[in-house]
Symmetry: C2
């Protein structure tokens, strides 16, 4: 999917919500545990309940690998279900991969050739040749970690060089020599407040994937204030707040209510 198609979807749905599929057997409603594939059964209901309110889904690979082969089966079914039933959706493999070239090429083939993902999150530590194999697929995206939402983001990402440039800024600048704003997005945590403004100065045209609204404490209003650009430029993720809005048989209704709340707030922020 290219940038234009993503923006058109955002305009049509009046939403820039990404639903994170961090599906955890310890948290889904108990009655689903009797299903043959509880992970997929849960995901399918969540997807059907939210697809008109969001523009992207983001399965978190850890939550599937946690269940080994069964988890991979559920992951594949989930991604293929979205691609078939809701072909307009942007599907992100939240995998935080990144390795030497021949290995990143294997991950890229996994997510972009065998599975119908549109994007994969990648960690920048190993540099250009760990990222570039993901850029060889047309209309597929790398979402590079820049400034993350967690407490440990201060440990290395804010380290300043002799010229005062912070590591996340160096990542933003350097990676722009590797590919365009039709190939790269960046992960920027909603908990980062006014640092968002610094990021927008460096990447005015790029989409940002923003985790950390909701369970992690970030504010959507603040993200929009500092982060929105002329083509929206934001995919704001919510996972736990939507997925686990209820543990009862009404979980799909409650999940939809939560997604609707976010979508309605987003509607107010999008220009008409």
């Amino acid at each position: 999917m290219n940038k234009q198609a993503l923006y058109e979807q955002i305009q049509q749905k009046r939403s820039f919500l990404c639903v994170g599929l961090d599906t955890d057997l310890d948290k889904i409603p108990a009655h689903l545990l009797n299903e043959a594939d509880p992970l997929f059964a849960f995901n399918k209901v969540i997807i059907d309940a939210t697809a008109d309110l969001c523009v992207a889904y983001k399965p978190n690979l850890a939550f599937y690998e946690r269940y080994g082969v069964k988890g991979w089966i559920a992951l594949e079914k989930t991604v293929r279900y979205i691609r078939t039933q809701y072909p307009e959706q942007f599907i992100i493999a939240d995998a935080k991969r990144g390795d030497i070239g021949n290995t990143s090429a294997m991950y890229a083939a996994c997510f972009f050739k065998d599975l119908p993902f549109d994007a994969v999150t990648v960690a920048p530590y190993m540099g250009e040749d760990s990222v570039s194999p993901f850029l060889t697929y047309p209309d597929k995206w790398v979402i590079l970690l820049a400034l993350t939402s967690n407490k440990g983001s201060v440990d290395f990402q804010l380290t300043q060089d002799a010229q005062g440039e912070r590591l996340f800024e160096k990542v933003l600048k350097t990676s722009q020599t590797w590919g365009t704003d039709d190939q790269f997005m960046y992960v920027v945590g909603a908990t980062q407040g006014s640092l968002f403004a610094d990021i927008r100065r460096l990447v005015p045209e790029h989409f940002l994937l923003v985790p950390g609204v909701g369970a992690q404490g970030g504010s959507l209003a603040e993200v929009v204030k500092y982060g929105m650009n002329s083509t929206c430029g934001l995919l704001v993720n919510s996972s736990r707040q939507i997925l686990y809005a209820s543990k009862g048989t009404d979980f799909s209704i409650k999940a939809r209510e939560e997604a609707l709340k976010v979508q309605q707030e987003m509607d107010g922020y999008l220009p008409r």
Copy 2:
């Protein structure tokens, strides 16, 4: 496995070789493609041919995920086979993971609870809380990326802060406040030459996992010169040079010959 047990294995086998299981269906002998599970069939033969010559195996997760569910089945069979048949072996999940706390905890459960890995490679970009969930399992290890073997290692890892400290040095120093040399090893590429000496000054007691000897061009003699410590402190990985020494029916013989060459060179470097 603790550090003492690993060192004893090194002394007994006179080897600090780690065999990287980067198993690629495009590179294994054609006659194995008729097997029900060619990835495992290949790995089993390689393991049986090399287990007395090496102290560790390192499946590279990308090469299994590449094949989806079949890949995961082969990975699980491989790891369980090593653990059962060669319980002395140190088994590394070369996964380069690292995410927010609740997600890293899922990866840790996958590799350390469900699968019998001893260690997992982790990328440091997201900081302490992305690493600490892996440290809650006794006698399990984090192998943190420090200075990698690839070309892109210069992009960010060598960036100096205002005091002249390079990022990989900051990673080495900071992570030592998170855990001990019984919990952490570091990835240091064999292609880094004399930078090895700088690393040894910062982490004199830690084991280093060293890729890049062989196909990537690093020299074992140089790694030993700069990197060996009083308890060896090195796991030197070789993948392609051993796995793909032959594409014929003699591949196990040729793989063993390659592993034996490396082990004999290592024997010469280890004190008696």
